[in-house]
Amino acid sequence: MLERDDIIEYSLHAHHSEEEGKKIRKKIVFVTVLLSIITVVEVLVGVFFSRYEFDGTGTWMAIKYMYLGLTLLKAGYIVMVFMHLGDERKNIRWMILAPYIAFVLYLIFIALDEAVAVGQAM
């Protein structure tokens, strides 16, 4: 084993026992099933409620926001469970998420707001 004394090897402390592993695998299976179900729901809605038929209606608006909600839910599970961000310290979690979310929310707002103005001008 190569151990260095100048840095703390956090990676060496990351091991877990067989029982803990069982619990973690259970969680992985749960998230897998959940992600699959969400995808199936999205696809079924996409097949039976085509934008081609429903565009401009309230139904389509509801479907649109449902898609966005389900996508964010999927993304949350991938980041928090698969990427283990949920198991990290709170400070690194927010250091990664907060600036990104703030920046992207602003980018979405300014781009879409301007786009509507450009669309009206054309």
Partner: protein, 255 residues
């Protein structure tokens, strides 16, 4: 997962120097930093798609109906919207799962299991890249099925989601207005090939990186090192690729 991250450590000690306040190794933190910058790139690309889309909003028919864009499936000529893309999405999710199982096995120092799950991850990635090749070539080939003729290319040349034409051959809306300068389909196609191409490149490089790490696992490099953190780091990248696809799937094929 990492025991160090769940330990209650006084802020004074945590931030007092001589250790990482995040209880993260250097490599893992740098992978996160890289992923943030990569996420900004993808975020920028998808927002620019949204820009083009909302600029075309005035005319609701000028943008292709996403779920009708790709209706092919290998071995059949039936119109099956979304099915193939759903298959690709599923493959990527499953390969993400095998990756997280490899990471979990790594935390138990189970070399055999890591090898098994990581190999499956590489296979899943290859299936995804192969599926994308098929999707692109079918897409480019268009209705005549010939990839070398670009003139009939429905996606790039004309709005085939708008079959309504008036007597003079102009494209019209449902209420009979003539559509002028509908750039929707072309813009859609450009964004489509750029963003799915950029994502596909990420998948491809992910497969290559995963394969290299797999070779190291089999050689016993990480067994000797005492931990499988390299698997965890490439795992982060691989999950990120899956994460991006979740958004690409929504913004291209659903909305």
């Amino acid at each position: 997962m990492s025991a160090e991250a769940t330990k209650a450590i006084e802020p004074k000690v945590l931030w007092g120097g001589g250790r990482s306040p995040f209880s993260l190794s250097y490599g893992k933190m740098m992978m996160w930093f890289f992923l943030i910058s990569d996420a900004l790139t993808f975020g920028g690309l998808l927002v620019s798609l949204g820009f083009a889309r909302h600029a075309a909003m005035e005319n609701e028919w000028s943008w292709p109906s996403s779920d009708q864009v790709f209706t092919h499936f290998p071995g059949t000529h039936a119109s099956l919207p979304l099915l193939y893309v759903a298959f690709m999405t599923f493959i990527l999710i499953i390969s993400s799962v095998t990756m997280v199982l490899a990471v979990e096995a790594g935390h138990r120092m189970d070399k055999k299991k890591v090898t098994f799950w990581l190999a499956l991850t590489v296979v899943g990635g290859l299936i995804f890249v192969g599926s994308q090749v098929w999707e692109w070539s079918t897409f480019i080939a268009g209705p005549d099925g010939n990839i070398f003729t670009w003139d009939d290319n429905a996606t790039l040349k004309q709005n085939f989601f708008l079959p309504l034409l008036d007597s003079a051959g102009n494209a019209i809306t449902k209420d009979g207005h003539i559509l002028l300068g509908t750039e929707g389909p072309q813009a859609y196609a450009m964004f489509f090939f750029f963003i799915t191409g950029f994502h596909g490149f990420h998948v491809f490089s992910g497969v290559v990186i995963n394969f290299i790490i797999l070779l190291n696992v089999m050689k016993g490099t990480y067994e000797k090192r005492g931990h499988y953190e390299m698997v965890e780091k490439v795992g982060l990248y691989w999950h990120f690729v899956d994460l991006v696809w979740v958004f690409v799937f929504t913004f291209y094929y659903l909305l």
